[in-house]
Structures are given as structure tokens and as C-alpha cells.
Subunit: 299 residues, 2 copies
Amino acid sequence: MDLLVVGSVALDSVKTPHGSVNEALGGSATYFSIAASYFTHVNLVAVIGNDFPEEHLLFLKGKGIDLAGLKRQEGRTFRWRGEYLDQMNEAKTLATELNVFESFRPTLPPAYIESPYLFLANIDPELQWDVLSQAKRPKLIACDTMNFWIDRKRNALVKTLGALDLLIINEGEARALACRDNIVCAAKHILSLGPKTVIIKRGEYGAVMFAGDTVFACPAYPLESVCDPTGAGDSFAGGLMGYLAQQDKINDQTLREGVIYGSVMASYNVEAFSLNRMRHLTKRDIATRYQAFKALTAF
Amino acid sequence: MDLLVVGSVALDSVKTPHGSVNEALGGSATYFSIAASYFTHVNLVAVIGNDFPEEHLLFLKGKGIDLAGLKRQEGRTFRWRGEYLDQMNEAKTLATELNVFESFRPTLPPAYIESPYLFLANIDPELQWDVLSQAKRPKLIACDTMNFWIDRKRNALVKTLGALDLLIINEGEARALACRDNIVCAAKHILSLGPKTVIIKRGEYGAVMFAGDTVFACPAYPLESVCDPTGAGDSFAGGLMGYLAQQDKINDQTLREGVIYGSVMASYNVEAFSLNRMRHLTKRDIATRYQAFKALTAF
């Protein structure tokens, strides 16, 4: 089934203890789309400037991603510059150039309006709400957010949460959103705001999903070398939502399997800079690591 | 099979956001013994002062723990005073009174020398080595340690590690011991120092076990309220080692199950101050939470 994502396409300059890249392909919608493309057909809504390299468009098209919603606009593409220090837990943002992303007002092309699966990547919650009002009865609406919106647009965010099926959020952001330190309490509070399911991403500690009284915990894949954590969360969301759209069935079992597929995609993504590892992934790679998650957790 | 533990028996004064206790029963060997007592017969080697309350001895005896190795000595019992702040991740030590523990030189009673399962709780690695030299061909030797010894007695600790089957250690301590940030690299380095297996405790994020090329990850049980984290690590070790001694079989499967039983005991322990929750546990409680771990991790 069609999976629609609305978010950013960017050029990232990233430095980690393992090296650096300059103006490499990045952006939440990019990581999400590529991860999801291994499972289902993706419709991408984002904006790029007229400086956006043609090779990146060819790469996205090559993965079967529909670009009718990728608007090219006069100006420069969104750029982000960041650095990860030794522990690789958090990016230090060195520069953000919003450029064409600053005036981004997502408009769904007519062919996208009935996409049954919808992911609102981390953008202004007012824009997320605007997308929701354009979409027609999606089967599953999921979104991500960040501290910036929790701090500055809490009311708009809470309005969006009320319409959600699934919130995918970082641990620190879950605590900030719920104003609770204990993660179980934070999850329960978030569920009371609307989403039927909340999935909390914990970086190298994996992810934990709460829905009703059910909890599912999944570790991160143990990697000897994390080259670049950029895009891990969006790759996770892409693997998860891609799998759900492929199965076209949403229940405890498919959600659990989806969390594992999300973890598989995130674990591959961090093995190289930008989307360089996901670029060359095979379905067999994905199946192999899924089995590795079985071995990692079985008792 | 008999399980021997050498460590501390203490009186703890602890404050957390949920309340406080004053001079309550504590100590690494105490938490370990009580947790293990649900699985197997425990021999306890530690020292107490002549002020140690009789009721605590009755409690330990009531759980079937052999106290022939619990030496009562002129002076005051080891006391620790600490506080946990909001996030409950790390104890802030306010006062440590070693008292009789300062001159503790563990001597195994003759009946203990052939205990096939041996746990060296967090004490001076020179004393750990001394205990090893008294023990006769145990089937499994495990130990814990802490930053204090890693910083100050690294050579003695490395000597002890060379004789170990299993090291059970906190995440931050594993990093410090291995001088490596990445936890997979840290574990591999520790394995190269001698232990066949290393289990890294990650607090609210669970535990991860490394042995050869095998990795097993287990989440912590999601609790809405952590009352007092004191003794969680020793309760974990007690549940794990108690189960291994009960099964009297050490392989990948029993180690994985042991990690779950350890997590079960740790999760109960933190639900109340001191040993108050473990005091009243039933075998049925343990079986119920073990099944909850199945539900928490199955996919």
C-alpha cells in the first residue's frame, strides 16, 4: 500500500570520530523514504532548491520513490551542519540554513491524498496538522517531533497528537513532552493525549513500544562501529512504516515486527555516512539482520 | 548445587524521591544471597559488627542461607548512606563507614571450599584473588567490581579477571575497564582479559551478555515506579547465579534464562526500599514476571 511521507530533504555536512562528509544527501523524509522503499511504494512530499544535485533525484527515483510531491523552488536547499563527539549520543548542531525549507507549505498532489499510510516527519506541528486536513481517511497516521516544537508549539503539537495513531519519539523528547522522568509514566501520559501507540527511541539502547497495557522492548543491534548516527530515527520510522504498509495490517504482532524492521534499517544506516549503507542494501541483508535480532533476543 | 558468595553485609541509609530508610539491611552479599535463595542453597561469607540486629540474621536464616561464613567481629557493622536524585540512575554517596569491613579478610569455612558456584561481589580484587586461592575447582566463578578498583587496583583486578568464567559489570565500569566507549568493543576487550562471558548491566535499559561471538540483550522490566535502586545489580547477579546453580548446567541457553531470572529479581528488588520486596516474594511471583519478560520481548 502507498506510504506518504512529509518532511525535509537536505544537504548535510557531518563530522564524527570516523570522518566527515560535506553537503551529502540528508533530511528526515529522505532517510525515511529510502528505508521504507525496501518494503512498499513511497510518496514523498518535501521541498528542494534549484541547487539540489540531479544525482540525488536519480537515486530516489531508482528506489521507486514517487517524486510528484517533491517541489523544486527558487533558492538554496535546506542545509544542516553538525558534529558527533566521542559518545555519539547526540548531535551538536553547528549551523542550520533553512533556505527554501523556511517557507515550506506542504501540498499533497491529488494522487497522494488517499495514501492509506501517512508519516509526518519532524516539522512544525501546524504544518503537520495542515497535511492531516488534506489527507483522506488514512488507515494509519504516524508522526515524529522534537524538543524545539515541544518547547515552542506545545498547543499545536497536542492538537496533532489528538489525531494520531502512532507517535515515534526520542526518549528525552518523550520525557519533555510528558513532563515525566519515568519512561513508563511518560508513555502513559502521551497515550492519554491521543495516540493509540507510542514508540520511544532510545538510541544505542533500542526502542520500546507502548499500546494500551502492552509493552514491547527491542534492543539496538550491537555494532562495533557507529560511523554516523544521522538519520537513524527516520530510518527506523521508515522501516517500521514501510513494513506496516506492506503488510497492510495493524495489530500487536505486525507492530512488533515493524519495530524490529525499523531497528534493522536504523542499524544499517548508522554503519556509514549519509545514506551510503542503505543505498546498497539488499532484501537478503534485511532478512539476515532480522534473524540476527531473533538470535539477539531469544531465550 | 551450593552457591558461595563473598561480599558485604551492611546497614544502609537511603533517600530517594519516594522516601527514605535509616540503617536498613543492605550490602552486596545480602542482596545477592536473598535473590539467589529462591533458586538454590547459598553459603554466605561476610563480616558484621556486634551491633548487627538479630532480626536480620533470622531473616537470612529463614531464607535457608548458610551463615557459617558470616563472621561477627568486635566493632560496628559497615554502614553506607546515599541518595538518589530525580533520574534515579546513580547513587550519590553521602557517607561510607567501613567499620569492621575495613579489616575483612574472607576465610572460607571448610564446608564451603568445594562450593561449585562462586560469586565474588564487589570487594578489593586482592581479596577476590585470595578467595579464589582457597576455593577448590569451582565449576563457575563470577565476579563484580567497580570504578574504585578499576582506578586504583587495575593490576590486581586484571589478575582476578584472568581466572574468571563470568564478569558481571555496570556499563560505565565496562567502558572504564576496557578504556573503550563502544560497548561491543569494550566487551570484546574484557573477554580478551580472561572471562568466557561478560554481562553488562545497563540499569533501566536492561543487560547485554557477550560470550564468544554470541550476544544476548535483555530489556529491564518497565516499572512505573522505581522506589530504591540500591542492590539492583546484586539482586540481578543473585537471580542469575542462583538459577545457574539450580540448573547445574552452563551453556548459552541457561545463561540467557539466567539473565532473565536476574532481571526478574532486580525488577522486584527496586520496587521497595532495602530488601522489603524480595522478602515477601513467592516462586509464583518469579514465574509470573519471567513470563512477562517473554511477552515484553516476543516478536
